[in-house]
């Protein structure tokens, strides 16, 4: 894992001091709210529907056990004993008090964490593949690139006041676990025909009120050109992005209005004016950063483990958990473990302080102290020996973290919605719970197979509803919540924006409609088809009919 260097330490510590003084000046009235608001937002502190909310950055979703323990301490001491994992792999606390925030930021800084660039019109926390460094699918670990981008974008003076926020995601596998095509810039680490590693740069994707799938800006960018090329791209955006209209200010609108060819030309022209070597970092610096992400000391193990196999036969529940929650590891004898934060009775993505501490302890014991957060609002222990899986599973059960529904219909992405968010138009948590309850039968969930339901409480689409196989958007009219449904979205490497089916539903009608939709799919699916495959084969009409059949 990356460890802060002197510069990082200084930046974070001086920010704590600065914000502590700003809070002091706010409390004694030397700063007005109008002056203070942008300052608190720069540190991730929002005023939400009921209280303040603090968003903590988790760079590319990587946490150490020590950091997780500190988050647990913060949850207990300053909040109400839990935190929430967001779709940008960050952690949110729903109930902090302004007077405590300087102490919270100091506690975060003590473990090399902070809240800056989790809000505002700057380059936000860079996200990545939660399986980074563990999956055999990847060309290389994407985190050194993500870390390089973190360092480059942190307090970058030229990009602190962009027309609008700017989100970057990096993956290094064909399988996209970071929704790169729905980002302002998506980066896929690729190899060219000569076998050189470089970057496929995708630009202009995004969700929100105008969902757009990103387009290729450069199919292959040599490795050393990454920062200068992104600098050129951001400059073009900074210059031409629309500051006159908040709803048209994202780069996706600029790219769409300009056309990808013309936009590419503008970037290339700008790039030609730069001195790349002034911006690019030296190979030595890249090597220094990369060294932090070296593999942990894996044991040499056989691919198969007899005790693990025996347990699979012995304990049916364990076998079901293993079937859904494990992924292939690059190292023989190891597995990637997904910990579901989608139990039937709690809000998607919420984790209690006690559970955080348990995850930290289990990471120490079984996963080289490494933890990941996922955009699906779950947690990953990236490197667990197969021989330890059963013991880990038993421990997870004790803290109610052994839900075996990863990738299934109850593994729902869901934003906080009207229960917490000041921008919401309707609730989303109760909807996700009602759907999860309706499909609570584990055998039925398995029969349905891979299904991605995503729910947002307003048009801002933090719950990624545009790219859900079934996407749900909460709206309100005359004091009544209703839910619009989209079908056919895809958050994977085959990214697609779903289509609206028609008029919205009440929550109750919605759950019935989804059940009819799912039953219809089970009736018509061929072979191993997933819901999305059947939908793509048959098209909207029959699914829509099933949805509205009541």
């Amino acid at each position: 894992m990356y460890r802060y260097d002197e510069f990082d330490h200084e930046v974070v510590q001086s920010r704590v001091k600065q914000f502590t003084a700003q809070v002091e000046r706010r409390l004694d009235g030397r700063l007005t709210e109008a002056q203070f608001r942008p300052l608190r937002l720069m540190n991730g502190l929002y005023l939400q529907l009921h209280a303040y909310m603090l968003r903590v950055a988790v760079p590319y979703g990587t946490l150490s056990s020590k950091q997780m323990r500190q988050l647990a301490m913060i949850a207990d001491k300053y909040d109400r004993g839990y935190g929430h994992i967001t779709t940008r792999q960050n952690v949110q606390f729903n109930w902090p008090e302004l007077t405590d925030v300087p102490d919270i930021l100091q506690d975060l800084a003590d473990v090399e964490m902070h809240g800056f660039q989790t809000s505002g019109n700057c380059i936000r926390n860079v996200t990545s593949d939660p399986y980074a460094g563990a999956t055999a699918e990847e060309i290389e670990d994407p985190r050194p690139t993500a870390e390089l981008l973190r360092q480059w974008s942190t307090l970058h003076p030229e990009f602190a006041f962009l027309p609008r926020k700017f989100k970057i995601a990096v993956v290094a596998s064909k399988t996209d676990r970071a929704v790169i095509r729905a980002h302002d810039i998506g980066i896929e680490i690729v190899k060219n025909e000569a076998g050189e590693v470089g970057y496929h740069i995708i630009v202009g994707g995004g969700l929100g009120r105008t969902p757009i799938i990103g387009q290729t800006l450069r199919a292959f960018l040599p490795r050393e050109e990454l920062l200068p090329y992104l600098e050129a791209t951001l400059r073009v955006y900074n210059r031409y992005g629309r500051r006159d209209n908040k709803y048209k200010a994202r780069i996706k609108i600029l790219v769409t209005e300009t056309g990808i060819e013309e936009f590419t030309k503008q970037v290339e022209d700008e790039y030609a004016t730069l001195e790349p070597l002034d911006i690019a970092v030296s190979p030595e610096e890249v090597a220094r950063i990369t060294a932090y992400f070296a593999d942990p000391e894996f044991e040499k193990l056989p691919a198969h483990n007899d005790s693990y196999k025996a347990k699979l036969l012995d304990d049916k529940d364990f076998a079901l958990w293993a079937e859904n929650n494990l992924a292939e590891h690059k190292q023989d004898g190891y597995a990637i473990v997904n910990i579901s934060l989608k139990p039937l009775d709690l809000a998607p993505g919420d984790i209690t302080a006690e559970q955080m501490r348990a995850v930290a302890d289990l990471a120490d014991e079984y996963s080289f102290s490494e933890i990941r957060t996922t955009h699906q609002q779950n947690i990953v222990l990236p490197h667990v020996k197969k021989s330890d899986l059963y013991a880990l599973y038993e421990e997870l059960k004790k803290v109610k973290l052994a839900a075996d529904n990863i990738g299934l219909i109850s593994d729902i992405i869901c934003c906080p919605g009207m229960d917490f968010c000041a921008l919401a138009t309707a609730r989303s948590i109760p909807v996700s719970q009602a759907i999860a309850q309706r499909f609570s039968d584990p055998a039925r969930q398995r029969a349905i197979g891979e299904m991605q339901i995503k729910i947002s409480g307003c048009i801002n689409a933090c719950g990624h509803h545009h790219v859900g196989h079934i996407g749900i958007l909460g709206l309100e009219k005359a004091g009544v919540e209703f839910y619009q449904v989209k079908l056919g979205g895809d958050a994977s490497e085959n990214a697609a924006v779903g289509k609206v089916t028609g008029p919205g539903f009440s929550q109750e009608e919605l759950v019935d409609g989804i059940e009819r939709l799912v039953d219809y799919y089970l009736e018509v699916r061929e072979d191993e088809e997933r819901f999305i495959d059947s939908f793509n084969r048959l098209g909207m009409a029959p699914f829509k009919e099933a949805l509205y059949a009541a």
């Binding site: 709210e33 005023l47 529907l49 209280a51 109400r80 229960d419 309100e476 004091g479």
Partner: protein, 106 residues
């Protein structure tokens, strides 16, 4: 966001957030702030509304509250008219802390 100038219809209440703790509050009959909506002053009397506005501005200047604004109130139910405001009154319909009996460990 804060539209302190009252432009609403029917009975009005004045709401804000505490600066320090951040919690939602409503102006009470005795011109204090309460976290309970049931304590909120509701009035159609323009002269009272004017005084509420003065109080809101003063307490914002005194750094007691932030984001002061008037809300419309339903005459029959006494509840806020807007759906969002109804929600601010009730608090989250779901909160993991309430669900599990968690609280701040001081």
């Amino acid at each position: 966001m804060s539209t302190l100038k009252h432009k609403g219809k029917g009975p009005q209440s004045l709401t804000a957030n505490e600066l320090r703790e951040g919690m939602n509050v409503w102006l009470t009959e005795d011109f204090n702030w309460s976290r309970k909506y049931s304590d909120a002053l509701q009035t159609e009397d323009e002269s009272v509304i004017e005084k509420m506005q003065v109080k809101g501005e003063a307490d914002e200047n005194e750094n007691l509250v932030v984001g002061v604004y008037f809300i419309d109130v339903e005459p029959d139910t006494g509840l806020p008219v807007r759906y969002r405001e109804k929600f601010r009154v009730k608090g989250p319909s779901y909160d993991t802390a309430d669900e599990l009996g968690l609280q701040k460990v001081k």
